[in-house]
Amino acid sequence: MNFLVCISRTPDTTSKITFEADSRKLKEDGLVFILNPYDEWYALVKAIELKEKFGGQVDVIHVGNSNAEVVMRKALAIGADAAFRIDIEPDSSWEVAKYISDFAKTKAYDLILLGKETIDHNGSETGAMVAEFMDLPYISYCNKLDIDGTKATIAREIEGGTETSEVNLPFVLSAAKGLAEQRIPNMKGIMDAKKKPLDIIAVDKLGSDLELVRFELPPVKSGVKMLAVDDMDALIKILHEEAKVI
């Protein structure tokens, strides 16, 4: 069984976010970049678990410049077999999805996995787009997956509950907490990763109709107002007059 895991590189959550002078680009100096946690902990590890069970190959793919090779090597160290980097800086999820699906169409994947969202843009956009480009079913927010032959049974999170469904391979899924348990790469994994293939694929820039106007930092909070510990009147006033919940 062959798996494709789409991976992205994001600033660590604890990063302080600032932008270049034109407000259109993230200032990258001093930031620590990581493999997007949902891609790593859930999508990638699930693909590796399935490969361990059924045999096959786990490929990872990333669309972006060479800065991402560190996190791609990490994916190989965790257990992916081969990595592919589409060498272009995308401006939109549409472009990312187009490059990934063009690549995936040249192979025969049984399952394409990605994290439920990236922790930078929190878009949750790419999975549905890849599925549409490839005309495949898409199941988002999966927290459980069992495969039996060509049939998959999936549990997913929905607002206020869960849903279980059945679908035939191949399909695209986005991975949420619960789908797999994080794996820490060991020394052997890290050594092996250096010898695994990391192919760079040149493509033409597609462009998109989406235009980033600017980024903006939120206004600074005016600061917390501390209330005396027994001042229930003040709290009641806030709940009643400001929040209007009572």
Binding site: E132, S165, V167, K177, S208, D209, E211, L212, V213, F215
Partner: protein
């Protein structure tokens, strides 16, 4: 034309659906174009959507399940093409997210998801969304004045803009048999989904043990809130997983978030820092959550929360 897709839940228009309508009405107004709403099942309240700026409601009376994004995409995209919809609005729910990306591909136009505000600058529509876990905003526009917009829940307060009825008619679109077979859908009964809740009471490891949650549930009941929790509390099974908010859980932005016995780690804040008002109850004056709060009470939650509940009960009985 502007097209808005709305989710109907047990015969009722979801709150997030009404928000999507009002947002779409803002676009329609700025573009001086009519607004059409598309729904999957009939509901008594459809004609009343005229009050929110909708001219036409199309009811697709066929057995499409919203969670099958392939079929939903086929439906929405065909309706959009037939009616030449330039902007398509849906809510950024699990259904909305699964179909929005498909629509962007099928109709070849940009997608902006998680949008919370619209503005007009130099004749262009600009959409704002929150990025980097709430640490910044990004503003996007569509170069060809066509887009798919997925609206983040709780971004706007729906309000009526007139009093006319919308025309309700049905639409027949042929779709393929679904490739996804739904086996079971299990919804927590009687509670507002966390992502849509206006008011949230959340508690963390400071609660010491799961048996202590009675006072949290009581507070939530008293103020009509949904309950949430920090990650460790869900991880050790004190609270159900669907209550876990934060970077790895649900991201919420209620009008009011009350955090009790939660330290305010950055990964927790990532999911709640878009809340309009935050009240923090914590016994540690150095708890990082105070820096992100509007109001803070430094004290023992086991004293403060029962006292607060008592005060609310008193307030309610004297005001009823």
């Amino acid at each position: 034309m502007v097209l808005v897709y709305i989710e109907i839940h047990q015969g009722e228009i979801k709150k997030s659906g009404l928000e999507a309508i009002c947002f779409a009405a803002q676009i329609a107004k700025l573009k001086s174009s009519p607004l059409t709403a598309l729904v999957l099942s009939n509901s008594d309240s459809l004609a009343g959507l005229g009050n929110y700026g909708v001219q036409n409601v199309l009811v697709a009376n066929q057995n499409i399940d919203g969670s099958d994004s392939q079929n939903l995409c086929a439906l929405i995209s065909q309706v959009a093409e037939k009616n030449q919809a330039n902007y398509i609005v849906l809510s950024n729910s699990s259904i909305g997210k699964s179909v929005a990306g498909r629509l962007a591909v099928r109709l070849n136009r940009p997608l902006v998801s998680g949008v919370n505000t619209i503005l007009e600058e130099g004749g262009k529509l600009i959409f704002r969304k929150s990025v980097y876990s709430g640490k910044a905003s990004a503003y996007y526009t569509s170069k060809n004045d066509k887009a798919i917009i997925a609206l983040s829940p709780n971004s706007i307060s729906p309000s009526k803009s007139g009093d006319s009825n919308a025309t309700v008619s049905s639409v027949e679109i042929a779709v393929q048999p679904s490739k996804i077979k739904l086996l079971d859908r299990n919804l927590v009964k009687g509670k507002i989904p966390l992502a849509e809740a206006d008011t949230v009471v959340s508690a963390g490891r400071g609660m010491k043990e799961p048996g202590n949650w009675g006072m949290i549930e009581e507070l939530a009941d008293l103020i009509g809130a949904s309950t949430a929790c920090s990650r460790p509390v869900a991880d050790i099974g004190w609270r159900p997983h669907h209550e876990h908010v934060g970077q790895t859980g649900i991201a919420i932005k209620p009008n009011l978030y009350i955090a009790i016995g939660i330290s305010g780690a950055i990964q927790h804040l990532a999911g709640v820092n878009s809340s309009r008002k935050i009240i923090v109850i914590n016994k540690d004056p150095e708890a990082p959550f105070f820096k992100a709060a509007d109001y803070g009470i430094c004290g023992d939650l086991f004293e403060v929360v029962p006292k607060l509940n008592e005060a609310i009960r008193k307030f309610k009985s004297s005001n009823s």
